[in-house]
């Protein structure tokens, strides 16, 4: 099998090839490293590539397979890791100058689980600085480009992970989702992304932006691959006190159930507030057609109202900056990270060094959010802003609870538009924030959400996303519905949506 075919295969198929002896992990890893050589210059999905380390892990995997002792179903399938997750011995910058060259002395729990499962780690993927953004343009190391159109954004903050799988540089990647950073990049790159139930996957070793919202999850090209990776990283971790101490549901069984195509008896709730004005026509058309496919599969589609969702964006942009401003206080230039001495000051104090370092090390969006959080937490404003936002969070949870009385899953377009042009919204924070309109409610309530491609919008031929939300701990429902819709859509398309993306490696093709 040629390398250009290999890299396009799903992780589940690669795992089967490894199990049957049709290929080796070293060959797979080499094929993906070569693919990076040919497309990274155009895509820039990675901040750091660890070819040597990945090949060594691949060789160890091949030895385990040869000895008949694979460490997991995915043993030997390479993976990329978002640069916000600590990787022992590999740089972890969070897309920020303040952590340039920082090499963590420990692994995040999810990274330790990848290693224990035998997955070679190809490298660290690009992201908006400290996961703050919807386009990866806030990365201090330059933006990632959308493989569907290199002049457009790949979404954010996890645009690197999404672009890496969309450009066939990695079959699997890890992302993190605080307000949509797994799902929105998935939508605009024609890939699959899952934000698990809050607490379903360990956050130990994830450099926190907003602790009460952050969640690690899989970034893949197929729903089944997402379930495989999710299953590998999920489960209780005593090092994360918010981790849920009970077994995760059987996600692969849910995929098989869904892929069989029968959704009889399933109630699908369309969220009235997440559609209509502000949503691109082509995105809405693909969404409506997807609903029709779910109906054909036997699901009952009903409309539900979640009236408080209109306040979700405002609540999020208070809760998140408040938590971020406290979290980022640890970047003080004392024990690790960038240390800058202020110009023209003899023998500067620790505080002067701290101020100069934070000014030099943080980008505009990080500064905006720190200042906004500092403001909202100030005495005199606390009740009006942070206090209100916390109450709105309660109202949003109540809306979800009421909606899940009448529907088993809730659905919406993942993002209101397809990928926009690089630079278009860079200096308009509010326009940028609107990209996460439909994904934020899930983070505020802690419920799981999956995004999968729904097709290409008519206006621009770019991918749109379909979001499936389920009650907390019912992640399996997202996978069941996602797998059913994916199968129905691919029957209609006659293949995967990514088959229609530009190949990138041939000059001038589109």
């Amino acid at each position: 099998m040629s390398d250009s075919v290999t890299v396009r295969r799903a992780a589940a198929d690669l795992a089967a090839d490894l199990a049957s002896g049709a290929t080796t992990s070293v060959a797979l890893t080499q094929a993906h490293l070569e693919r990076m050589d040919s497309v990274e210059g155009a895509v820039h999905a990675f901040l750091h590539v660890d070819a040597e380390g990945a090949l060594a892990q691949a060789a160890a995997s091949d030895e385990r397979r040869a000895a008949g002792r694979p460490a997991s179903a995915l043993d030997g399938v390479p993976v990329a890791v978002k640069d916000v997750l600590a990787t022992q011995g590999l740089p972890t910058t969070c897309g920020s100058k303040i952590l340039e060259g920082w090499i963590p002395p420990y692994d995040a729990t999810v990274v330790a689980r990848l290693k224990a499962g035998g997955l070679p780690i190809l490298g660290k993927t690009n992201m908006d600085e400290f996961a703050m953004g919807s386009s990866t343009e806030h990365s201090a190391y330059g933006p990632t480009h959308n493989p569907w159109d290199l002049d457009r954004i790949p979404g954010g903050s996890g645009g690197g992970s999404a672009a890496a799988v969309a450009a066939f540089e990695a079959p699997l990647a890890l992302g993190t989702d605080t307000g949509g950073s797994i799902r929105q990049p998935g939508a605009v790159t024609g890939t699959v992304g899952m934000k698990p139930t809050y607490g379903g996957v360990s956050r130990y070793g994830l450099v926190a932006m907003a602790n009460s919202l952050d969640q690690v999850g899989p970034v893949t090209r197929t729903v089944r691959d997402a379930a495989l990776l999710h299953q590998l990283i999920a489960g209780h971790d005593p090092r994360d006190s918010t981790s849920i101490d009970q077994p995760a549901p059987d996600l692969l069984a849910a995929v098989e159930l869904g892929a069989a195509g029968d959704l009889a008896g399933l109630r699908v709730g369309v969220i009235r507030e997440l559609g209509g004005e502000g949503y691109q026509a082509g995105v809405l058309s693909r969404f409506t057609e997807a609903l029709e496919l779910l109906t054909q599969a036997g699901a009952e589609v009903v409309e539900v109202s979640c009236p408080s969702f209109v306040h979700a964006l405002a609540a999020y942009y208070l809760v998140m900056p408040c938590e971020a401003s406290s979290n980022l206080a640890k970047f003080d230039a004392m024990r690790y990270g960038l240390r800058v001495r202020p110009d023209g000051v003899d023998d500067p104090s620790a505080e002067e060094v701290m101020r100069a370092s934070r000014d030099a090390g943080f980008g505009d969006e990080v500064k905006r959010r720190i200042i906004l959080g500092t403001y909202a937490l100030s005495s005199g404003y606390y009740d009006a802003y942070y206090g209100q936002a916390q109450k709105v969070r309660t109202l949003i949870q109540r809306d979800f609870a009421a909606a899940f009385e009448t529907a088993d899953v809730l659905v919406s377009p993942t993002a209101p538009t397809t990928a926009f042009k690089l630079g278009e919204k860079l200096d308009d924070p509010l326009a940028m924030y609107l990209n996460d309109l439909a994904t934020i409610p899930a983070n505020l309530a802690g419920v799981p959400g999956l995004s999968l491609p729904s097709g290409l919008a008519d206006e621009d031929g770019l991918p749109a996303g379909f979001q499936v939300l389920a009650p907390a701990l019912a992640d399996d429902r997202c996978y069941r519905v996602g797998a059913a819709l994916e199968a129905a859509l691919e029957r209609q398309w006659g293949g995967a949506l990514l088959d229609r993306a530009p190949t990138l490696d041939l000059e001038g093709t589109r």
């Binding site: 919202l213 849920i244 405002a314 004392m334 101020r355 000014d359 200042i371 100030s378």
Partner: protein, 99 residues
């Protein structure tokens, strides 16, 4: 109503220990006003009877056994320090001569 002035932004940046120069203040202050104005819509949305939610899952008192586990060595902990001396973090002066 939710106006945030350039002086306020300068003050907040100072509280957050970020040196912003004049050009940055000119750039960021108007943007912050716009953002703040949009989130201000939230005031008054929820009444006094609505309890606040700080965390999506109602977890309390997570305990673990008090057992010794291996930690980082001094060398590992200091490996990424900007400066170190005698197995300790070396930091700029905390107080001035006059303090």
């Amino acid at each position: 109503m939710a106006e945030i002035t350039r002086d306020e932004v300068a003050h907040l940046a100072s509280l957050a220990r970020i040196d912003l120069d004049d050009a940055e203040l000119d750039h960021l202050a108007p943007q912050l006003s716009v953002v703040l104005d949009s989130v201000a819509s939230i005031t008054g949305v929820a009444g006094d009877d609505v309890p606040p939610t700080s965390h999506p899952l109602p977890l309390t008192n997570v305990f673990r056994d008090d057992v010794v586990a291996p930690g980082l060595s001094a060398e590992q902990a200091l490996a990424m320090a900007p400066e170190s001396e005698q197995q300790r973090f070396l930091v700029p002066r905390i107080l001035g001569d006059e303090q």
